[in-house]
């Protein structure tokens, strides 16, 4: 028997709750009718198993990419020296180990690991790509080395820190104590920005008397960079302002005020504007401040050793240039310090120059001669009586006039010409002159300097003040520096307190006292600065039992304000010379409510 089997394939299928197996039908040809067997059903109760999927890194992580289009991609060109620095000992920069024992190196490492200065992005740089631009740069020392820049001398580590502070900032106040090389740090930073193409047009604004100082320092610290000094008649200045291929222009404040419209007319704008002695713009309503702020610019740096001279408003004035609106007068000193912190860098000599020669302060209390004392007594009594007669009509100007008159008598008796201070000064200068050393003598009055020069001619005394031409002043400094016969340089606070490098002088005399201790510090720091070869002795003359002693007491209290803001400490009780203070010098009640006196700066 043959039989064809029409076979139907059994199908096993899973359902949710049962296993169904269909029956197999075998259909023989001879017997077509056999009943189909029933399907077998086995109910089960098995849920569908859950499947856990374990990811095996089957997706690539997201990547954020940043490309830097900076001129950093260009090979650093060899410097093009436009001027030969007078110091022929200029050397390539090499980071040298500091003096003294080498700090603990890594175990097994014999090589010295020098300090490396990182350029940190400022707090106001928000974009991550810009922050990365700074964070991913090599350290400053490497940038300088690979740029093959030459410096007249090896910068101090804190000066590298200053450059690293300035370079990334669009608004910055370098407020180092006088003598720490603010201009050198600014010039080196300018140089790096110019060399890297980040700045093509730079404007430096400084007091008139410091223009030659700046050109000299620029030639020393950035010899390959062309510099134009804005000076001369209007036609010449127009041409100088228009020079497109000169990266750095140096102008004095007066020229800037005068040429404000010209700058606008020429459509000038600057990649960087640097203000030296920026306390000049502390008064926001002054012409100088307005002219400075009107110049279009991308970066604004302020250099000042005294950002706070009288009151916290001074710093607000400077900030209107570097970061308008960032500070306001209603802030407490502590809040202002916190708000300003990322924009201000201040170092003091005692913190950064451990090996700097000491500054020896000597307050010389001078007893007036009997004639001088009598002249002084009469002037004070008459003056106070006059003020008392004026009563509520008395003005601050009246008080100033009396103070000035009394201070002048403390210097020289207006009738006899006697001067107890001069006697003391002469005695000191004899010794200084004999030992071949140099002394600086500061006074508030040019007239006093003239009288002193006559009396001190045997010491080769020279005069330096704002009434002299720039050429005459430069010549005076050159003579004092180079000629041994000149032991004494007589300077006015106004012209001589800023910008001069007189660190070869070992003695400073404050023949009379300025209104503001910050200005006195500036004067002292002409001698006590980097490069000082020995201790600097500072003698402050104070006529006993006179207005000078009373002013000194006020100034001592005033000295604390700057520290309060710059260190973010609590405010001290006294913040400056007020009308109250001035009237109190004569035990008089002020006519109006007390307010800080700007003129007292």
């Amino acid at each position: 028997m043959t039989a064809d089997f029409a076979e139907s394939r059994p199908v096993h299928s899973w359902r949710a709750t049962e296993l169904a197996i269909p029956g197999v039908s075998v259909v023989p040809r001879v017997e077509p009718r056999i009943a189909r067997p029933p399907a077998l059903r086995f109910p089960i109760d098995a849920p569908r198993p859950a499947v856990t999927r374990v990811g095996l890194f089957d997706t690539r992580p997201a990547v954020h990419s940043f490309r830097f289009q900076s001129p950093a991609a260009q090979p650093p060109a060899a410097p093009r020296r436009m001027a030969t620095p007078s110091d022929s000992a200029a050397t390539s920069l090499h980071v040298l180990p500091p003096e003294g024992p080498v700090a603990e190196a890594d175990a097994g490492a014999s090589a010295f690991k020098p300090k490396r200065t990182r350029i940190a992005p400022p707090a106001d740089v928000v974009k991550l790509s810009e922050r990365f631009f700074y964070l991913l740069q090599p350290d400053l020392e490497t940038i300088l080395e690979t740029s093959r820049l030459e410096f007249p001398r090896q910068p101090f580590p804190f000066q590298f820190d200053g450059m690293a502070f300035l370079m990334p900032r669009h608004g910055a106040v370098l407020a180092d104590e006088m003598g720490l090389g603010k201009s050198m740090q600014a010039i080196s930073s300018i140089r790096l920005l110019v060399r890297s193409g980040q700045a093509r047009r730079v404007l430096v604004v400084c007091p008139k008397g410091l223009v030659s100082n700046w050109t000299r320092e620029l030639a020393d610290w950035a010899p390959e960079i062309l510099v134009a000094v804005i000076e001369g008649d209007q036609q010449r200045r127009r041409w100088q302002w228009s020079l497109a291929d000169v990266p750095v222009k140096v102008a004095n404040y007066e020229a800037l005020v005068r040429d404000r419209d010209l700058i606008a007319e020429l459509g000038l704008s600057f990649d960087l504007m640097v203000l030296d002695e920026a306390q000049r713009i502390k008064n926001r309503s002054s012409q100088t401040s307005e002219a400075v702020r009107s110049v279009p610019r991308r970066r604004s740096w302020a250099l000042t050793g005294t950002p706070v001279e009288n009151s916290s408003d001074d710093l607000v004035g400077v900030f209107e240039f570097i970061a308008p609106g960032h500070l306001h007068e209603r802030m407490s000193p502590k809040a202002m310090g916190a708000a300003a912190a990322d924009h201000v860098l201040r170092r003091t000599k005692d913190k950064v120059l451990k090996d700097m020669p000491p500054r020896l302060n000597r307050d010389e209390r001078i007893e007036l001669s009997s004639e001088q004392r009598e002249t002084y007594r009469r002037a004070e009594e008459e003056g106070v009586l006059r003020l008392a007669d004026l009563g509520q009509e008395a003005t601050i100007q009246n008080v100033f006039e009396l103070v000035l008159r009394l201070k002048q008598i403390c210097n020289f008796d207006t009738f006899t010409g006697e001067s107890a201070k001069l006697d003391c000064l002469e005695a000191d200068l004899e010794e200084i002159h004999a030992s071949g050393k140099k002394a600086l003598v500061f006074s508030q009055w040019v007239k006093t300097l003239g009288r002193l020069r006559g009396k001190l001619s045997r010491f080769g005394a020279l005069e330096y003040h704002g009434g002299m031409s720039t050429t005459a002043r430069d010549d005076c400094i050159r003579q004092f520096k180079q000629e041994k016969k000149h032991s004494v340089l007589l300077l006015s606070y106004g012209a001589g307190a800023v910008g001069l490098n007189l660190q070869f002088s070992q003695y400073v005399f404050l023949f009379d006292r300025w209104w503001n201790p910050a200005v006195e510090d500036q004067a002292i720091n002409r001698a006590h600065r980097i490069g000082a070869v020995g201790a600097v002795t500072v003698t402050r003359f104070l006529s006993a039992n006179t207005i000078e002693e009373r002013i000194d007491e006020v100034l001592r209290r005033k000295r604390d304000l700057s520290d309060t803001i710059l260190s973010q400490a609590e405010a001290p009780g006294a913040s400056g010379l007020t009308q109250d203070d001035l009237f109190a010098l004569f035990k008089l009640a002020p006519p109006r409510s007390a307010a800080p006196i700007r003129a007292a700066a």
Partner: protein, 184 residues
Amino acid sequence: MEQKSAETMSGAAAGPRAYGFLTAVESGPHGVFGGYLLVDPWGRPLEFHCTAPVKVSRAQQILFGSTLQSHLHGQQIGGTLLAEGTVTPEVVLTDLEPMLHVRSHTKLPVAFVRHASSGTPAAMFGSTIGTGSFMIGNASVSPHATDAARGDDLRARLEELAAAVDLCEPFERIRAAIDEAQRR
């Protein structure tokens, strides 16, 4: 990945000479961040690429076992980052031994670099490191086993850069940048 690296190599012949620095940073709560910095011969940045954090699960740890680090660093992070570069480096340096596994995903020479003062012999780092280690500046450079025979060539390629920067220093920059990215 390899193919893309090859494309990158052929497409970037013109630009300045470049050097790659590849590393990863473990950040407890986030995972592992990768960073790849390309610098010019003076150490200045040309490109920077960083990954989003890669978090490793317990299951991945178990399943990958001892191959986890090489896979994570070599392929997931390293391979991904190298593929993003638009300039071709002379050599890719890493300061993480597991990152050497990226060599399997690129045609670029890869070397392990560490301070000479670290004192750990190259042999301690396993089979990924070849025998052609050399000193350059303060750094000890150990090529991947694949590039072991190219020690002299790699040294020549690195000399210009090593004259400008400490070869271990750019990794500090990458870590600082990743740290910054996490804080933002």
